[in-house]
């Protein structure tokens, strides 16, 4: 079956909404698959499978009859019968049981028959499998045993019990597993009634524990407990002892607290290891007070385990002071475990202690930062704000970063207050946090703060925050509103910063506001406007920049404009031939080699004979010949197919003048390709 057939299968639901296509397919495909071999009849298989899987219940009978006909056809191949069994798994009924049961002793088809029989419900299937149990041997019988277990056939227990002590180890193992899967009191009894071989001991204990699990859930706790206690006492297999211990705890979680705690504190390695899963998953909330109470008295290693157990429990109350005691434990590993558990077990009471850990440069500090970022309880944000207000500068800055990472805008008013803190780094960290949390409404506020600030570094921070927040606003045409409004009120220094912000935001209103400042008489403002347009996110300012290049008296402005023009030309929609002309024009206006080289870089993306001819005139210019030759070669290489002769001539010309070994090698290779 291929990809198209798969899609056909998926889409068939829609196609068949009004009815089945069985009739339309005709008999030919059904006759074809009787002779099916692996690799043949692809289309027929696909169509029939689609018919079967998508059939409505009232059509199952017709399809079942056709599939049973294949099973009954003496000429049908093994793959054909295997396929029919697969399909009977989908639409087979009680009518299929007898024909399928006939195949149970067939070494080649026994599994295929069970594939369908396991799916078909009802006691008749069980009866057929039980009947076959007595008539089969070897692998076929082992498979049948497995199916009886998978179907939960209680009537099979006596027969399966007989096989527990079978001399064939694989048969005995299959019977034991099946009884374990059945898991009833009778199954447990059948398991215990026979002497078993050492080779099946693991399987036998596993099956007994499986019985105990099921019995514990169905109210037969007494039998379950007896099995667990017996396995715990008698098995030398550590996993069986652990399983039995866990089962006992699970059986009665309240009473299990004490032994689980004893195991946790004890020295038995098996039970010690099992205690944590018990505490983690089996015990109810009643275990928490006991565990919490024991916490201070536990040795460090167990304290860590207890903290992890508590933190993994869902919905428990914060520990508060007990957690603070662990956070301040003499053992660093306990401190670390306590910090890691703080997300689940902590609250506002623990914030101050956790904040103090931020001074640590290692794992403890990192974990504390993560815990404070993730800890979501009432009062935590307020406690962090308080911590950001006083103390060591480094910690205050980290706390502000945490407040930003917590993404809770409720702390914004407190952050604004910290924007006027005496400490410069704190002020700037507060602005940075605002930039992470702020919304459109904050832009205007920050513009006002930028104007009010006298510190150039702070002003840069405000500009950066304004830019970040505004850039997050989804509508390009309106997100610059507050910035443009501020531009009209700003002093020259403020305008310089806000023009930089506008270049990051883009959009028509921002563009118009920015180009308006090209007329400014203040040199810094004009320069900022040129720079902003040169860094514009789209090609809108091309004409403005060209005009600056041609008319401005400032070398700096002309260079900025030329660089911007060359950059924007590359991302513009200007057609290739016009773009080449524009590059050439810029080249003529350029006075420095840097801009000339930038022109070459732009031309490299516009390969044409016209460009080759232009570059040919500069291959030996002292300042730019290296870039001119590289670009010339790149374009010649790209023209090999569309303009073979021109490319060949260019490559030969380059070889005649260049002494760069790499370029020569590339040119020679290119010429070989042409030949």
């Amino acid at each position: 079956m291929n990809a198209s057939s798969q899609l056909r299968n998926v889409g068939m639901a829609a196609l068949l909404a009004g009815g089945l296509l069985v009739a339309a397919r005709g008999q030919a495909e059904w006759q074809e698959i009787v002779k099916l071999d692996f690799g043949s009849c692809e289309a027929a298989l696909t169509n029939i499978e689609n018919q079967v899987s998508l059939a409505k219940p009232d059509q199952h009978g017709v399809l079942e009859a056709k599939l049973l006909a294949i099973l009954g056809d003496g000429a049908a191949t093994m793959p054909a019968k295997q396929f029919a069994c697969r399909m009977l798994r989908v639409v087979g009924s009680e009518k299929s049981i007898a024909p399928l049961a006939k195949l149970l002793g067939d070494e080649q088809l026994s599994h295929a028959a069970r594939y369908a029989l396991e799916a078909i419900g009802g006691d008749a299937t069980g009866a057929a499998l039980r009947d076959a149990l007595a008539k089969t041997s070897g692998k076929a019988r082992i498979g049948i045993i497995g199916s009886l277990g998978a179907r939960g056939d209680r009537k099979a227990i006596p027969a399966l019990g007989e096989l527990v002590g079978d001399s064939d180890i694989n048969t005995a193992r299959a019977a034991i597993k099946a009884l374990g899967r059945l898991g009833t009191a009778d199954a447990a009894k059948a398991l215990e009634a026979r002497k078993i071989a050492k080779a099946v001991e693991l399987c036998w204990f596993t099956a007994r524990l499986a019985c105990a699990e099921k019995l514990g859930k169905t109210g037969d706790e007494k039998i379950a407990r007896r099995i667990y206690e017996d396995v715990l006492a008698k098995s030398e297999l550590k996993q069986m002892r652990a399983g039995a211990f866990l089962g006992l705890v699970r059986l009665d979680p309240v009473c299990g607290i004490e032994p689980a705690m004893a195991a946790l504190k004890g020295v038995d390695p098996v039970l010690g290891e099992a205690a944590l899963p018990a505490l983690l998953s089996l015990l109810p909330k009643a275990a928490v007070p006991v565990l919490t109470k024991e916490l201070p008295a536990l040795p460090a290693e167990k304290k860590i385990i207890a903290l992890r157990a508590l933190s993994a429990m869902q919905g428990i109350k914060p520990l508060g002071e007990e957690l603070n005691a662990c956070l301040s434990d003499a053992n660093t590993a306990v401190q670390l475990a306590a910090v890691e558990a703080a997300v689940q077990l902590g609250n506002a009471q623990n914030v101050a202690v956790l904040v103090a850990k931020l001074a640590d440069d290692g794992d403890l500090g990192k974990a504390a930062k993560q815990a404070l970022t993730d800890l979501q309880r009432d009062g935590v944000a307020d406690a962090l704000v308080k911590a950001a207000g006083t103390g060591d500068q480094k910690i205050r800055v980290t706390v502000l970063a945490i407040l930003a990472d917590r993404r809770d805008p409720a702390v914004l008013p407190a952050l604004y207050k910290l924007c006027s803190d005496e400490n410069q780094k704190v002020r700037r960290a507060a602005v940075k946090a605002i930039s992470a949390l702020g919304d459109a409404a904050d832009v205007g506020k920050l513009v006002g703060m930028l104007f009010a600030s006298k510190d150039s570094g702070d002003r840069d921070s405000f500009a950066s925050a304004i830019s970040s927040i505004a850039a997050r606003q989804p509508v390009v045409e309106t997100r610059a509103f507050h910035v443009i409004e501020g531009l009209g009120k700003a002093d020259d220094g403020g305008r310089v910063l806000l023009l930089g912000v506008l270049s990051a935001l883009g959009g028509k209103p921002a563009y118009e506001a920015t180009r308006g400042n090209l007329a400014s008489t203040a040199a810094d403002v004009k320069k900022a406007a040129v720079k902003a347009l040169a860094e514009w996110p789209d090609a809108a300012p091309l004409d403005d920049l060209k005009n600056v290049v041609k008319t401005d008296t400032s070398d700096v402005n002309r260079i900025l404009a030329m660089r911007g023009y060359i950059r924007l030309l590359a991302v513009s929609n200007v057609k290739n031939n016009k773009r080449v002309e524009a590059y050439k024009e810029m080249y003529a206006l350029a006075t420095r080699p840097q801009e000339k080289r930038a022109v070459f870089a732009g031309l490299a993306d516009a390969p044409s004979v016209q460009v080759l001819e232009f570059l040919a005139g500069h291959l030996t210019d002292t300042d730019v010949k290296a870039e001119a030759q590289v670009t010339y070669l790149k374009i010649a290489e790209e023209l090999i197919k569309p303009k073979k002769n021109e490319a060949k001539a260019a490559l030969e010309k380059l070889l005649a003048i260049t002494d760069d070994k790499n370029l020569r090698k590339r040119a020679e290779n290119a010429l070989k390709r042409i030949k």
Binding site: L45, Q82, Q108, L237, C255, V270, A278, R308, L375, Q376
Partner: protein, 402 residues
């Protein structure tokens, strides 16, 4: 609550023989050289394409001592043994064709499994019954019943079981952070992009290769003749490898679905839940396979922008929740190593992995039957739908039985 448990007897049983120190605790920042007695002794089963990657990853942990590799392909196990021996500078790594021999070793604490999917449940459960922790590649299950059996075995024996999808946490972390921070508001739906269901394999037989144990490769799957495209480990799901075929895999739906539906369940904090209905596209009013959960959230198979596309409530925020992370500091492998040492549950605990795989399997069943299905995520069955319930499990080829 009754007090049927005999506390005295229980305590007596619990105070078993005093033996060596019970726990192997390694704090974060484990030393570069871990004493052999403190290392997690591991073996790898299925060490071809994904398995060799898992093997290399575990070899990088000083806390791990890899001692055995197993594969039914000789080339794979020879390559893996060479990699392990090269790492340790000795010839000590044992290689096995039959996983049962590897699992029988009492000195092995944990295994990583990266066979084709039809072997995952059998091997993982067998390993846990032998007291071993398990790291199993995704998709962890081939059928829904197998998944539940894997969860039960892990809980019954107190084993650590990590599913092997690093992309659940890592690929969409920004979206997850936003969701757990409440920034999407109430999440209404998620579009999930992953592949389609598998197909039946009807490839012809090819001459048998000498370096593969074909019967053991097939294991519990229906008998079929050898063909390279049947058993190839290619990641392509286009009829050229086992990931394409229903007998061995859930197809693209489980292959990438394990990652992306898993990520979606993480993002929506519904890791341990399941849908109550699954509706396949009908060419009319249902455009995409649709899962609906009891809380009203919908998952759509395909139809979004990007692999995982969250539809929240614009303009709304909901309270932030503490987002779970990997433990141990070194991705999903480090998470497993950490949890083996501490006995915690890993990020991709088997219950989460099983619930994810179930979502994928349910999609496959709905596509296959071409009709809407009701699902009971607690009982894990299709209520009143005998036909759909037939797809909860498959008969295993003899002599294999869980």
């Amino acid at each position: 609550m009754n007090t049927k448990l005999s506390r005295r007897n229980f305590l007596k049983l619990g105070a078993g023989a005093a033996l060596a120190a019970p726990f192997v605790m390694t704090a974060k920042g484990a030393p570069a050289v871990v004493p052999p007695s403190k290392r997690i002794v591991m073996g790898g089963i299925g060490i071809g394409k994904m398995g060799s990657g898992d093997l290399r990853s575990f070899l990088n942990f000083p806390e791990v001592q890899m001692v055995a590799v197993c594969d039914v392909r000789k080339l794979h196990r020879d390559n893996a043994k060479a990699a392990v021996d090269q790492k340790y500078g000795n010839q000590d790594c044992k290689s096995y064709n039959d996983f049962r021999e590897l699992l029988a070793r009492d000195d092995i604490d944990a295994v990583h499994i990266a066979t084709p999917d039809h072997w995952h449940a059998f091997m993982a459960i067998a390993a846990m019954r032998r007291g071993k922790d398990v790291y199993c590649q995704k998709p962890e299950t081939l059928t829904i019943r197998e998944g539940r059996q894997m969860v039960e075995a892990a809980r019954q024996f107190g084993r650590v079981f990590s599913g092997g999808s690093q992309r659940v946490y890592g690929d969409h972390l920004d979206i997850a952070k936003k969701a757990w921070a409440g920034e999407y508001g109430a999440i209404k739906a998620v579009h999930v992009d992953c592949g389609m269901p598998p197909w039946n394999c009807n490839l012809p037989g090819e001459p048998m290769r000498e370096d593969i144990d074909w019967d053991l490769w097939l294991g519990p799957a229906p008998w079929a003749p050898y063909n390279d495209k049947r058993c190839n480990g290619t990641f392509s799901i286009n009829g050229t490898g086992w990931r394409s075929w229903r007998d061995y895999s859930g197809g693209g739906m489980t292959d990438w679905g394990a990652h992306r539906f898993g990520a979606t369940m993480f993002i929506t904090d519904m890791r341990l839940e399941g849908p109550t209905s699954i509706t396949p596209p009908n060419g009319k009013d249902v455009q995409f396979l649709t899962y609906e959960f009891a809380n009203g959230v919908k998952y759509y198979h395909k139809g979004g922008k990007g692999p995982v596309d969250v539809i929240g409530t614009p303009g709304e925020r909901v309270p932030a929740k503490a987002m779970p992370h990997y433990k141990g500091g070194s991705g999903i492998y480090g998470d497993f190593v950490h949890c083996v040492q501490t006995r915690e549950r890993p990020f991709r605990d088997i219950e989460f992995a099983h619930r994810t795989a179930t979502v994928c399997h349910l999609g496959n069943i709905a596509y296959y039957l071409g009709r809407p299905l009701k699902w009971d995520p607690v009982k894990e069955e299709f209520p009143g739908d005998a036909q759909a319930n037939r797809f909860l499990d498959r008969a295993k080829r003899e002599p294999w039985a869980i």
